[in-house]
């Protein structure tokens, strides 16, 4: 075995060993810190609305062309429809939003787990006000203009809102609880 091959093998082995130990360490930490996404959604719904949600109406969700609804639940008093939605096309991947609908109107939109760095720009521009208070049955999510400097994030948000609009029209019959 030549010295060059030996050196190459040594490099590969050391790097592989470090990667393996890192993987094991991360695996251990994952077990310790695992957060059940369903439980996390329940907690978030309750925290954002101040209402109780004892069951997930739809925990499988539905995909659309540029977005998806991951979870949908109705509050125990039947007044608030809570959605976990994602829109594709963001700068850092999909953008997750928690969208709450009361009396067929969007009541609240809150950003969820995201790797999107431009969402704070949307917050500063008060971008969600384009959708809040609007009737879900007649809302055109794409009518809202994109925020300058955060066009991809705006696109992803519009896609997520549009997914909720479509889901609402299809599954929440008549658009009213």
């Amino acid at each position: 075995m030549t010295a060059k091959v030996k050196s190459m093998l040594q490099c590969v082995l050391v790097l592989a060993a470090i990667a393996l130990v890192s993987g094991l360490l991360l695996g251990a930490f994952h077990i310790i810190t695992y957060v059940d996404p369903l439980q996390s959604a329940y907690d978030r719904f309750a925290e954002d609305t101040g209402k109780t949600f004892s069951k997930m109406t739809d925990d499988e969700g539905k995909s659309y062309e540029n977005g998806l609804v991951s979870y949908y639940a109705v509050s125990d008093d039947g007044t608030t429809h809570a959605f976990v939605a994602e829109g594709s096309g963001g700068y850092g991947g999909n953008v997750q939003l928690y969208i709450y609908v009361t009396d067929a109107k969007i009541e609240k939109i809150i950003a969820g787990d995201n790797s999107e760095t431009f969402l704070n720009k949307l917050d500063s521009a008060n971008y969600y006000s384009n959708f809040i208070g609007k009737d879900v049955n007649s809302l055109d999510a794409f009518a809202a203009d994109a925020v300058s400097g955060a066009t991809k994030s705006s696109d992803a948000v519009r896609n997520a809102v549009d997914a909720v609009v479509q889901y609402y029209k299809e599954n929440v019959a008549g658009g009213q609880s």
């Binding site: 050196s7 040594q10 490099c11 050391v14 790097l15 470090i18 990667a19 890192s22 360490l25 991360l26 930490f29 994952h30 310790i32 810190t33 695992y34 957060v35 996390s40 850092g92 950003a111 969820g112 787990d113 995201n114 790797s115 999107e116 760095t117």
Partner: protein, 224 residues
């Protein structure tokens, strides 16, 4: 264990080689995460944790890691600890994590961490490397907090989230452009103070020299 060297290592990261104000490293999180004191502090603590542990492991493995693959090895080590920070924050500090998560992931490519792994931890013993991680981390955290205090005060009229009554909020001051201005001003102020302190130290040192030494020096200069 050399006490002087330990002192030098600790003070180096805090003042002499402050990563933010002197080495001007990690500018991205410095601008992005200093809109409030709390965020700046959290970012500093997360970076300090990663710095300490990546320095420790790079130092422990410095004789094992071949030169050719040292950078990939450092990146694997650093990203492991960044992922651990993410997991822990997501579990125990979900609110803070949701506002900072994009920037926490970016700690992997924070040049302070890679620079310390490459220039210090890879050629020093574990104890000194950990000390370097602590001092660099504290230096970074301190710098972020100082900038965070100023930016939060001007943008929101508050300190650590507590409103200061009677101060008019300046809209737009929280933007990144103002962040750069604050960063520049703080950097200039920090370096000015350090320079003045050093000058004073030198003057005091010169004044405390024995008279005979001063006479010899001055006579030597006159002879030249």
């Amino acid at each position: 264990m050399n006490r002087n060297r330990m002192k030098e290592t600790v003070l180096g990261g805090l003042i002499k080689n402050n990563p933010t104000f002197v080495l001007v490293l990690g500018t991205c999180p410095t601008i992005a995460m200093t809109t409030s004191l709390f965020q700046a502090f959290a970012m500093g603590v997360a970076t300090t944790f990663v710095l300490i542990f990546s320095n420790l492991f790079v130092s422990l493995l410095r004789n094992v890691i071949p030169d050719k693959v040292r950078i990939p090895c450092y990146i694997v080590i650093i990203s492991t600890f960044v992922t651990i920070v993410q997991m822990v924050m997501q579990k125990y500090l979900p609110d803070l994590y949701s506002t900072m998560q994009a920037f926490i992931a970016l700690i992997v490519v924070n040049c302070i961490i890679l620079a310390r792994a490459e220039s210090f931890a890879s050629c020093n013993k574990p104890l000194y490397s950990v000390l370097d991680g602590v001092s660099m981390g504290l230096g970074f955290t301190g710098a972020l907090c100082l900038i965070g205090i100023v930016r939060e005060f001007f943008a929101n009229g508050s300190f650590a989230g507590f409103a200061i009554s009677g101060f008019p909020v300046m809209e737009g001051v929280g933007a990144s452009a103002f962040g750069f201005i604050v960063f520049g001003c703080m950097m200039a102020l920090f370096n000015f103070v350090i320079q003045k302190v050093n000058e004073r130290k030198e003057k005091m040192k010169a004044a405390s020299l024995p008279l005979s030494e001063g006479v010899v020096e001055s006579s030597g200069e006159a002879a030249k």
